[in-house]
Amino acid sequence: MSLAKSAANKLDWAKVISSLKITGTTAQQLSGFKKRNDEARRKLLELEQQPLTVDFEQYRSVLKNKEIVGKIETLFKEYKPVKIDTQSQLKTIESFEQHAIANAKETEVMIAKELSTLKETLNQIEKARPFDQLTVEELVKAKPEIDAKVVEMVKKGKWEVPGYDEKFGSLNAM
């Protein structure tokens, strides 16, 4: 229990959410869980600080009506905390846990996919030749939409690229 407590104290929630790039429902649930955890911990701390015993002798010496103090004392001694059946709560927690695990697995798959794409991108970046050695054919191979755009422009009889002259200057003699 204490181990879990210290681990929970050391956990940096904001970092977990940001470093794992958790988004969507998982992030919401995680932050919700954190909120509930903080709330529960705060309540527990508050309750722990409250005194557990009542000094009835003090009340007896102060109050004139000793009878009522005696009555309250017997009532206090008779009081037994109500035992709550935690089974249903545990079941809820279990189902929540299963849901969370399923979500986590989904996130894991998503992250793995993202990671593989990133690796591929990194590979491409590493393999990429310098910018000035790039040819039009390679660029078109990487981005087929350039070819599609050119075909479309030729079909429409457009031979000028908008914004080109402003960027690179015009070589027109006239």
Partner: protein
């Protein structure tokens, strides 16, 4: 042989016209789209 002179001009006209057509096809299908592609690519990589 002056009677061959019309054939000379006919030949000139025929091959001149053919050359014009060939040049037109080459320019419109290969050369000019290539230049256009180059321009589009240049603009594309500046916007990356």
């Amino acid at each position: 042989m002056p009677q061959l002179i019309p054939f000379y001009f006919m030949n000139q006209l025929t091959y001149g016209f053919l050359l014009f057509v060939v040049l037109l096809v080459l320019f419109s299908t290969i050369l000019l789209p290539m230049i256009l592609k180059l321009y589009v690519s240049r603009l594309f990589i500046t916007k990356l």
